[in-house]
């Protein structure tokens, strides 16, 4: 880990104004992704800007819906009554993630910006297009068991976002509020925030170097209240998803009025499946509808040597999630 300078910002402008570029400087919140990658020499910043003192806090419900400050901790958000009751998929995605210790440290903004667990990315002894553009992608012929089957490119097949929260957020149409060094705020739907790898897997999102995530808002909706996050993993707890599904359904009189579907563990980015949603809306809430939606969600999936199982597993995850959420009535 390089020596770095450390600035504790108390005002947003102080933080954004100090930020130079993404390579040499970084914001630090909980540090659970950042410090890890710095110790591995994957990220080498010589300036850290601590944003924990910034007032990006609060979990409130307004007319627009839910607003979560970017510096709220995963555990606080996951256990918050409002979220447990009105946005269960968000709560579950947080509480099924990482470990209690990590959830206590990790922030919502940091979670959204967590980086891939592709083993080649995390070990500088290997080449990796995402870490060092142009060096190659050894994962394609190697340890790709937990990498993506949707939205990948020849350059990179990683689940660029390996976590859970953003899967729930993208399903529920969350919008990020960002603020730059000029103090200007903009709102970006999370569905437009992440970028597919294409030829530039090192560019993962549309955040500018001087921008901070201030807050996340999630519109109020019946399908948010009746939402669910389901996660399948190698061990019972403390593991990244092999596959996951965030779903929301508004069912009236047995017919699906609105549906939200996103998948985790399978996409090069958190994977909203409009294809699956289209197969659901207007249809009876039953297994054959869910199966058809699941089939639509994985159309075009491209597996590698060790991750073909995800094609079936993610469909079953989705069907199970939809079945359970529909059963809630």
């Amino acid at each position: 880990m390089n020596n770095f300078s450390y600035l504790q910002a108390t005002k947003a402008k102080e933080a954004t104004g100090a930020k130079r570029d993404d390579k040499s400087s970084a914001f630090i919140a909980g540090g659970t992704t950042l410090i890890d990658l710095m110790k591995l020499n994957v990220e080498n910043h010589d300036q850290l800007i601590d944003v924990n003192m910034l007032p990006f806090k609060g979990i409130e419900q307004s007319n627009d819906g839910l607003r979560i400050g970017a510096l709220e901790r995963m555990s606080d958000v996951g256990e918050h009554k409002l979220i447990v009751e009105q946005y269960p998929a968000i709560s579950q995605s947080l509480l099924l993630a990482a470990s209690a210790q990590l959830r206590n440290m990790a922030s919502i903004g940091g979670n959204i910006l967590q980086r891939t667990r592709c083993p080649y990315f995390r070990d500088t002894a290997f080449p990796c297009n995402k870490r060092e553009p142009g060096t190659g992608c050894p994962a394609k012929e190697g340890d790709n068991r937990n990498l993506a089957i949707l939205g990948t490119s020849d350059a990179c097949i990683a689940t660029s976002y390996p976590g859970d929260l953003s899967v729930a957020l993208i399903a529920l149409d969350a919008v990020l509020t960002l603020e730059n060094a000029k103090g200007k705020q903009r709102r970006v739907p999370i569905s437009e925030f992440y970028r597919l790898p294409g030829k530039t897997p090192h560019i993962e999102n549309t955040l500018e170097a001087d921008e901070l995530i201030v807050a996340v808002t999630v519109p109020k909706a019946e399908h948010a209240r009746k939402s669910l996050y389901m996660k399948v993993r190698d061990r019972a707890s403390y593991a990244y998803a092999l596959t996951s599904a965030a779903v929301g359904l508004d069912v009236q009189g047995g017919t699906i009025r609105s549906a939200r579907v996103a998948l985790g563990g399978v996409g090069a980015q958190p994977w909203r499946s409009k294809e699956a949603e289209q197969m659901l809306v207007g249809k009876p809430a039953n297994e054959s509808t869910f199966r058809a939606a699941a089939a639509a969600a994985v159309r075009g999936a491209q597996p590698y040597e060790h991750n073909a199982f995800k094609i079936e597993m993610v469909q079953n995850t989705l069907v199970r999630a939809l079945t359970e959420v529909a059963a809630k009535g």
């Binding site: 020596n3 002894a125 707890s237």
Partner: protein, 791 residues
């Protein structure tokens, strides 16, 4: 000496067996217990290894310019400037006195043989500075394509003749296995795959080397065997053993990876000499995957032939596995296959392939753990094939003697009791023998069982017992405590040997200045050290008896020493037990402040032979009186075969949509001789089962096929069980007395707990799903695939 202290009976116990709290528990909880990297040493500096990115090739350049400029850097050692050992470790050709699992010592030349091999050792004033300097070293390589495993198409399989680096025969034939198999009416053949596993103790390996002059050295070392570390260093450095002191007071686990001598230790010692400062080196977690061995990737093919009635007639076992470029290491899987059941014909052979990996090493129940996975899975299959209950099938083939070892009788075997008690506790009778029939909600539920066993590895060691007239005692033996409870159980043994309450006994271990004990490995420490303490106590008893019979004030005055017996610290007349007094009472009258006993104790066959000889023909083993044979020579005992046995019962739930397998109930019942401490022993067996569940369901180190480099060398991606993976477990012991193995009838329990576990899980999965899982770990992807396959 006519006194016969070696009657084939076991002494009474008092403190021994009780579920006493750990004597080191408080220190550990308070953070006061020192691990090897925690000793304060004046002038200490820190070393960090720089390891190889590549798995095969040659170093062409090491650029240390930037690293050397880092503040605090004291020295950067590479193959070009590190002091040479007095003796370079030998290869296979030479017998290895120094007990290194890997004969190759890195940093002697520019060649690279495996990824993660040390290429430089940076010494700096702080750990952080050394770490950063190591990161700044730029090593250039001429890269060659490595071989990653035995299944690499470029790998050549060969017959090593001997495995475990020459210690074990790689061929075994008993009877006529091929003919018997060919003519067997019932046949079963299957291949089992075991992934690479790493030990992953919580405490990483650490060495603190302190030179106290040019030929005196103290090393705080995280080792399971201080005597071995001392001997290896003496050999490599060319200085006498007594000039080298090894201290290991507490270990944060080891599971075998700290039971051998590894390169990082000698490199640290040599670097400390080069910088002339006390030096500490702690392996990082990723370095733990390439510095202290692993369980090798392997596959076993097992053929079993049986009669229509289900009697085994033949077993043929073959194993293929990966080894390093220099050493012929393979776990000896076939031993357990050979001995566990009554089967008249058997053969085993091994094949190895050299790859660019470090030498693998014993890991908890080496051989028995993977071997039992194959055997106990096949036994389950055969039971189904024969339409028999798997437990009945095992009873039908119950080995009433050791067929693998000259049909010797067992010294003790309580397996039938373990089966019966385990089945009762678990509710085995409720199992539906038809697979795939039981559901709980969406999940498929199944029950499985397997047999556990582990051998008594013959061993010996010494101990010293010092009793003070004030009724306190110090008991010493240079054992180690992996965290399993050696500190505690030996305190209990010392207490009973001298008849004192455990609070009045202090046990000391982990220092080569103490009498020599074997390492904590092969489940031999508890059996050997307890036996050594009892032998040392006998030495002390004799001295106190001699005092008492000469002391007018003693009730034993004028008694013949051979008529006096000692039990729980009290001396008394064999013929009139009323008449006697305690050791302490006699000692306190003597005017001496303390008295000392020291002796060697044995465990296993060595103990039995000694006992036989000491019995002088009078008793020997009951079946086999000693004395002279027809030719007038001293008879030797043919002896007993010595093993522990147990039974595991497991319930699983399998989610048919996701392929996830969760263990929902576990029962283990074991017969392990005298249990030294019910609490620590139960914990050991919980731990063994959990370790086994890990290897059954999730543990796998992935070695990239193109780079021969591990990809998941960290505890986030190398999954070991978390609490949520482990259900409530029931562990019980059946009472078992074994007077042949050692003074207290103690069998080791470090390893038996894992043996058979993976098979018990796989058998339960079969019962749940009708699918046979033969590749470990049984991850959801493999289960899902099996569920979709019709065969």
């Amino acid at each position: 000496m006519e006194t016969n202290f070696f009657e084939p009976t076991l002494p009474p116990v008092n403190a021994v067996g009780k579920p006493m709290d750990r004597v080191d528990g408080r220190a550990k909880v308070m953070g006061a217990a020192r691990y090897s990297a925690e000793y304060p040493v004046n002038g200490l500096v820190h070393g960090v290894l720089k390891t190889s990115d590549i798995a095969k090739g040659k170093i062409t350049n090491i650029d240390t310019a930037a690293a050397a400029k880092e503040p605090g850097v004291i020295s950067i050692l590479t193959y070009q400037n590190i002091p040479k050992p007095a003796k370079v470790p030998s290869t296979l050709k030479e017998e290895k006195k120094w007990q290194a699992a890997q004969s190759y010592l890195p940093m002697q030349d520019a060649e690279i043989h495996y990824a993660g091999e040390p290429v430089a050792l940076v010494v700096a004033d702080t750990l952080e500075r050394a770490t950063q300097a190591a990161a700044l070293i730029k090593v250039s390589y001429q890269v060659e394509k490595p071989i990653d495993s035995y299944h690499d198409p470029k790998a050549d399989l060969f017959d090593p003749q001997k495995i475990q680096n020459g210690k074990t025969d790689g061929h075994k034939v008993r009877g006529n296995p091929e003919t018997a198999y060919a003519s067997a009416p019932v046949k079963h053949e299957a291949t089992y795959v075991h992934a690479i596993n790493h030990h992953n103790p919580m405490e990483p390996a650490a060495t603190t080397a302190v030179w106290e002059g040019s030929d005196r050295l103290t090393v705080y070392e995280s080792t399971q065997n201080i005597t071995m570390s001392q001997g290896s260093l003496a050999n490599l450095l060319g200085i006498p053993r007594d000039q080298i002191r090894i201290i290991t007071h507490h270990l944060g686990g080891g599971f075998g990876c700290k039971g051998s001598f590894w390169p990082h230790t000698i490199l640290t010692v040599l670097a400390a000499r080069a910088v002339n400062r006390p030096l500490r080196l702690v392996l990082t977690r990723p370095q733990m995957y390439t510095s202290v061995g692993h369980r090798e990737d392997q596959e076993q093919t097992l053929k079993i032939g049986a009669t229509q009635e289900g009697k085994l007639v033949s077993m043929i076992h073959e194993k293929k596995s990966t080894t390093s470029p220099w050493d012929n290491y393979a776990e000896s899987n076939s031993k357990v296959v050979n001995m566990l059941y009554a089967c008249p014909n058997f053969s085993a052979r091994y094949e190895l392939a050299r790859a660019n990996v470090m030498t693998s090493v014993w890991m908890r129940a080496p051989g028995e753990a993977p071997g039992s996975f194959a055997l106990e899975s096949s036994m389950d299959d055969l039971a189904h094939q024969l339409n028999m209950d798997p437990l009945q099938f095992r009873l039908l083939n119950y080995a009433d003697k050791d067929y693998s070892d000259n049909e010797k009788p067992w010294s003790s075997k309580s397996l039938k009791e373990c089966y019966a008690r385990g089945a009762e506790l678990f509710g085995w009778s409720k199992r539906n023998p038809k697979p795939g029939q039981t559901r709980r909600g969406k999940k498929l539920v199944g029950m499985g069982m397997a047999t556990a066993t582990y051998p008594v590895h013959s061993s010996q060691g010494t101990a010293r017992v010092r009793l003070f007239a004030d009724g306190h005692a110090v008991v010493q033996s240079g054992a180690t405590d992996l965290g399993t409870g050696t500190w505690t159980v030996m305190t209990q043994v010392g207490a009973d040997a001298l008849g004192l309450p455990p609070e009045k006994v202090r046990f000391e271990l982990g220092d080569t200045r103490l009498p020599t004990a074997p390492g904590s490995g092969g489940s031999q420490a508890a059996g050997t050290v307890s036996s050594s303490i009892m032998a040392a106590a006998e030495d002390l008893w004799k001295k106190v008896i001699d005092m008492a019979v000469g002391d007018k004030k003693s009730p034993l005055y004028k008694a013949k020493p051979t008529d006096v017996k000692v039990e729980l610290g009290r001396m008394f007349l064999k013929k009139n037990p009323q008449k006697g007094e305690t050791l302490v009472a006699a000692l306190s009258r003597s005017g001496m402040t303390d008295i000392e006993g020291m002796a060697m104790g044995k465990y296993g066959s060595g103990y039995e032979e000694k006992h036989f000889a000491a019995a002088g023909g009078a008793a020997g083993s009951p079946e086999e009186p000693g004395g002279k044979n027809e030719k007038g020579e001293e008879k030797k005992p043919s002896g007993h075969s010595m093993h522990s046995f147990g039974a595991h019962f497991c319930e699983v739930e399998v989610d048919p949509d996701f392929g996830t397998i969760r263990v929902t109930r576990w029962v283990g019942v074991h017969g392990v001789g005298q249990v030294l401490n019910l609490k620590t022993a139960t914990s050991q067996l919980y731990g063994g089962a959990i370790f086994g569940i890990g290897s059954a369901l999730m543990e796998e180190t992935f070695r990239d096929p193109n780079y021969a480099r591990y990809t998941n060398h960290n505890l986030a991606e190398y999954h070991i069980p978390v609490n949520a993976d482990i259900p409530d477990m029931k562990i019980e012991f059946v009472p078992e007395k074994d007077p042949y193995i050692n003074a207290l009838g103690v069998k080791g329990i470090g390893e038996i707990g894992i043996v058979g576990v993976a098979a018990a899980v796989a058998n339960a999965v079969y019962n749940a799903t009708g699918k046979r899982m033969r590749s470990l770990p049984m991850t959801p992807d493999k289960m899902l695939q099996a569920l979709r396959t019709s065969a």
